[in-house]
Symmetry: C2
DNA sequence: ATGAAAGCGCTAACAG
DNA sequence: CTGTTAGCGCTTTCAT
């Protein structure tokens, strides 16, 4: 029982008594081939269920029709939505996806990138891991002529196409909403500041405070962007709680964790402390009170990323200018703020 | 600015004045090559950052070192956990993953499969889409000698390795728990019955009722396995509500949706109606009351699936018997039941 | 110890 | 209109 080898163009040629190139051409409707020959060859190929060897094709064409995708963590709803947005369009255009997870790990991200380069992918879509603070590993891809599109978590230092949200605006809107409800002492649960999204959301928060004449206090900005970190900071948060009336969390999970801690300690949300999240994932409507949050369009961002990539791949000669596509955030008001 | 072509073994040979085959051999430590030559060639390869062309390798070796993965819907936490479990081990063993989503669509699943076969993947891991009711498309892979491992949602008709949960037992445990709390009128929100997992969980439910002397009523079994469907059946559920005291939902999302509907209509959970889910995803601890549920180990199931696959791929000659690995479900008691 | 050559499956330039 | 040939990058007999 050795592995059956799929049949090739050569087998067809032999069985039909024509040359290999005739088969090749017939199968792709080359005008040189007589229609009878074409019909015969195609019928036979169909009959024996011939399938071209994609590997051989890629090698020959120097093009793999594969796009690499690096995701920080597939379990996050935002990122899996991004994948869906990418996939639909990619497959439609005849591209396959190799998906890698960096698991928020700089080193792993570098390995992912190397893998994708090794596989001669035609392009790479990537969102930075949280721990990525240098960008040399992207140079390798670029030096090999592989275009990169950054989405959501982008590297400012690298010239490339980018798809982002206007996170500054998002932070501003969220914080403004809290202020408009009457909050005056607002804590911000922030993402790492070497990430643009972390910096921008925080700056938006600060801007909102400033333009409303509120003081910016460093001790009210906590580096804390996962549910686990919130749990770790529980006591610290409870110390802060008596003197605050609002929380702007950098994502939904931290917002929800914060709500749970507050509620378990007899604070009412939003009456005592209003809480606003960022993302609008499926959890937002499971927590009680339902979460007021900033909508982050994962599917659409994925779609836009692959569009930018395809535009470039479909016009290999064009040398298109790098473009940054920015999505406007919107606020969805529910019950938590 | 044409695309730079990565350098090849041929370039190295030319630049170093040796033959192509010498370079090839030196790079893989072939004993025939003198150690001086090896050192020289390796040093140079390192210096110029030579990377073998994976495509050419695959073609030559008739082995792509790629494993295909078909996922019904990546946004489900269970499935993204499975991916993580698979990925870690696969990469460690030098395999890459091509991930496809069937989006719960039979036809799309068949296309996914074709794509993977075309790419000459070495093996395929698949969980059936909800709409898959025939299995011919798997034959193609098998006929091509590509081994398949089914995980979670398996095809009984196909001989292959399988990784499942004991869903019958899961359904039984869940229902027994409700009964032990005193529930006597239990609704089951069921998955499609052509899926083994749907059938098995339901049978477990029935078995628990029977062995406790409770009547099995068809009108208490609703085909309803997504949040959306629950919402659609809202009125129906509220009609049922006065006469029931327990719900066993086929997954967490439907359990949660049911809880929300009940609460919005002034039923208390668990006092009036106890609700138990299946899966133990992250949502389980966000809903209030926290969800009692059956633990479904996605990561571990993924890990086990890839293990079965690797075992087979690493012993191509062995002709190993097909194996079914079954995980025992466990109950995690929180507040909702 | 090293090199020449064939071939994995396919395409395309060249010949006829 | 069809066939022959070279070559994509690599490995592996077979010579030397």
């Amino acid at each position: 029982m050795s592995k059956p080898t799929p049949l090739t163009i050569k087998d067809i040629a032999r069985n039909l008594g024509v040359s290999i190139s005739t088969v090749s051409r017939a199968l792709k409707d080359h005008p040189d081939i007589s229609s009878e020959t074409k019909i015969m060859i195609k019928a036979y190929a169909e009959e024996v269920n011939y399938r071209p060897n994609v590997l051989a094709l890629s090698l020959r064409r120097q093009k793999s029709n594969t796009i690499g995708l690096i995701i920080p963590a597939i379990v996050h709803h935002f990122f899996s939505s991004v994948i869906s947005g990418i996939e639909d369009l990619a497959y439609k255009e005849g591209y396959n996806l190799i998906i890698c997870q960096s698991n928020e790990n700089h080193h792993r991200e570098a390995i992912n990138l190397q893998t994708l380069v090794d596989h001669r992918v035609d392009g790479i879509l990537v969102s930075l891991s949280k721990t990525t603070q240098s960008f040399d590993h992207f140079r390798e891809a670029i030096d090999n002529g592989i275009p990169i599109v950054f989405y959501d978590r982008v590297a400012d230092e690298i010239e490339s196409d980018k798809v982002i949200m206007d996170d500054f605006e998002g932070g501003r809107i969220a914080t403004n909403h809290l202020i408009s409800r009457g909050c005056k002492n607002i804590v911000h649960l922030a993402a790492p500041q070497h990430l643009q999204i972390g910096k921008n959301r925080r700056n938006g928060y600060c801007e909102a405070l400033k333009s409303n004449g509120l003081e910016i206090r460093e001790d009210r900005i906590l580096k804390c962007d996962t549910r686990e970190e919130v749990m770790t900071l529980k006591n610290h948060m409870l110390n802060l709680a008596p003197e605050i009336d609002g929380i702007f969390a950098v994502n939904d999970s931290t917002a929800i964790a914060a709500i749970q801690i507050l509620q378990n300690n007899n604070y009412r949300v939003p009456e005592d402390i209003a809480v606003i999240g960022y993302g609008d994932g499926p959890n937002a409507t499971i927590i009680n009170p339902e979460l007021t949050t900033i909508v982050q369009k994962g599917y659409e961002m994925g779609r836009e990323s692959i569009k930018l990539m395809l535009r470039r791949l479909n016009n290999p000669a064009a040398d298109i200018n790098f473009q940054t596509k920015s999505f406007k955030p919107s606020l969805i008001i529910r019950q938590s703020a």
